[in-house]
Symmetry: C2
Subunit: 196 residues, 2 copies
């Protein structure tokens, strides 16, 4: 579970419950985990079993007990070790590219329809990301940019720069792919005009 390290990361800020962690993942732009229950609650059990976190159970009158997880020294050591480990190559996957690859089975119009549909999705996504970033900036003010969806105040300029860059690279990704799609449509159109 690679989400294990991301959870330790959040807990390095301050203690959280599973529910809160779930929110943090769901609200974030750049963490690719959906924050589903199985992963969060399962990882927390595992983290506790291996001594990376401690639990404080807070009984509540009517609601289920909150379990507040706090990172331990072992947990911090594990997090640091991971941060210092060799980074992996990033991955770019587009099933739409795979569809495109077999475009010979489609007519010019059908192929352009597929691309148009991809283009629309990308444009929507790019706008949504930009909007979320904008709102995040508004909430906290430029100097306090926390990263889209993450409410914890960033502690210094270095961290703000890093989080902001990460979010920007995410938006840039969609925008680059959008540009690529537009360009391909254009070039395909030129080609079919030539052939006439």
């Amino acid at each position: 579970m690679s989400i294990r390290h991301a959870i330790l990361g959040f807990l390095s800020w301050k203690p959280f419950t599973g529910y809160e962690l779930k929110r943090l993942f769901a609200d974030s732009l750049s963490f690719h985990w959906s924050g589903n229950n199985n992963q969060i609650y399962g990882s927390l059990v595992e983290l506790h079993r291996s001594g990376a976190v401690s639990i404080e159970v807070q009984q509540q009158e009517k609601l289920p007990a909150r379990k507040l997880y706090t990172i331990t020294e072992e947990g911090r050591a594990e997090l640091r070790a991971w941060l210092l480990s060799e980074p992996e190559l990033p991955a770019f996957r587009s099933l739409a590219h795979t569809q495109l690859a077999w475009a010979e089975c489609l007519s010019d119009a059908e192929l352009d329809g597929l691309l148009a549909s991809y283009e629309r999705k990308l444009a929507d996504q790019a706008i949504m990301c930009r909007e979320r970033m904008r709102r995040s900036l508004e909430e906290t003010g430029e100097a306090g940019y926390a990263g889209a969806g993450r409410a914890e105040p960033r502690r210094n300029a270095r961290e703000r720069l890093v989080w902001r860059s990460i979010d920007e690279s995410q938006v840039a990704f969609y925008e680059t792919e959008l540009g690529w799609t537009k360009n391909l449509r254009l070039r395909l159109k030129e080609l079919s005009d030539e052939g006439r």
Copy 2:
């Protein structure tokens, strides 16, 4: 299994054995499947069970029997239906970004080391991709560009354009991320120089 459709795609060119399909996936730049046995052979069994492919067993004297898979009309219909279905958003995942997100646990030097290591990996990967594309061009000649690692001759200008664009977007992805990394290193350096 989304690889199912990619296999149908290859079989739409001509019949292949499992072994050959495995090669096609392993050699390709832009298909993200590793082409491991379990997936290929498993999918082929499944495709046959559902009537999308037919099998011709060719006994060989010393080697194990070759099973040559041919796409059926049902298979072609399934492929076309998938090609016309709504494309999904592409995905960009970088665990390195997650490492970066918790950079507060690292010193300036350690953070720069992480970025330097990421940068090197990306540069190597970009060079490797470019090289593979170049070799693929050499083999087949500009006009016949088949897509890196895929030996089937492309049938017309439209398909060549699409395949080439797909490979280029893959390389551009690594190069964009490389540029992003360099830029972030630079901006972090400026920041730490300011603070002095």
